[in-house]
Symmetry: C2
Amino acid sequence: MPKRVDHRERRALIADALMRVAAEQGLEAVSLRHVAAAAGVSAGMVQHYFRTRDEMMTFALAVVRERNEARVTRAIRALGATPAPRALLRTMLAELLPLDEERRADGRVALAFLAYTAVRPAVAAALHDETAALLGFIAQLIRAGTVEGVDPEQAAVGLLAVMEGLGIYLLGGHYPPETALAALDTQLDLLFGPEPSPAGRGR
Amino acid sequence: MPKRVDHRERRALIADALMRVAAEQGLEAVSLRHVAAAAGVSAGMVQHYFRTRDEMMTFALAVVRERNEARVTRAIRALGATPAPRALLRTMLAELLPLDEERRADGRVALAFLAYTAVRPAVAAALHDETAALLGFIAQLIRAGTVEGVDPEQAAVGLLAVMEGLGIYLLGGHYPPETALAALDTQLDLLFGPEPSPAGRGR
DNA sequence: CCGTTTGCATTGCAGTTGCAACGTAAACGC
DNA sequence: GCGTTTACGTTGCAACTGCAATGCAAACGG
């Protein structure tokens, strides 16, 4: 094979540029030439690595998901071994919220893709498994948290929905990050019982 | 004035066609000619009533919001006078969920607009007031529901987020409507205390 | 009856889109 | 050395986009 080039690296480079364009101007501004310009390469090169636009989009969507997964696993690993279920949940969910500019940019792209896949059911299927896995994980944590009187599965659905909704409203700028975090904690209080207020979060 | 025509009616007709296009193929497929075709009129007519595409979009966004508001007030009015806070909340939130095909279509459009406005902060400002008003209303209901130990404002934020998140996942087809409704009820149980199970929702 | 205003259709235009086609240069097997 | 394969860059094209401009008919005021 001639001219050995790291195929994945190039694709990642292009997908990165795509993400930047999408975050700043929306998915509809994502075109071959536009992405190429943002990546500082020729349009032909983009076309070389992604034969169609749809292929490029699908790849970018996968990147978004991988980024989120990496973020979560990293945050969880930082908690050390055997953390309390509630702390683990809170860390995980807070990590998924668009609280800083980096995550806001990713969130905008994710939101755009959400609308994108809503019209392309075939692409959306990939997201189902992820949601299902996430729900199972959350339900398991709730179960381990010795919460009584609540169906863990349903509570997991609610909790994940809270996170998603908070993310949406944060992206829209409807309220500041602190409000979202406070609401998340209130939600966890409802589930696990009120915290003994360990000086960490008053008011 | 010659040739009297109901201006608002025409605009509504066009906006309706726009909604159909957006629900089926996404906002990016919304073009002057496309919408005109869907409305069964000429492209020139669309241009006559909306001088720019952005004007058309803004109008359509307003229509979506008005539809939701109308839906909610209608559902609430059907509850009769002085309904219990919890029942009122549940009715209102359930009405906003994309549970049937009609609301799913509207939801897809709303989701598309969400992503649309995420990149156009100027347009998003109109949504803030609506969210704030809704939050105030929900908080007031929670207060009236004699829920102790929870900050009504934060609980309202959480509750609205649950609704939004459930809507997103419903649109994505991640779970069936019953799951979303069950999660909503679980959430209300957490807030108001478990229902005395009035034969309505067991399982 | 005539001018003006309104409602709408058609056409034109510059810009952008995805994508195919073609070109070339480099690296490898032989 | 040569042919083949990979990695691009360039060009071309048909389709589409928003929008301005133009045309025309109908309805009204005068």
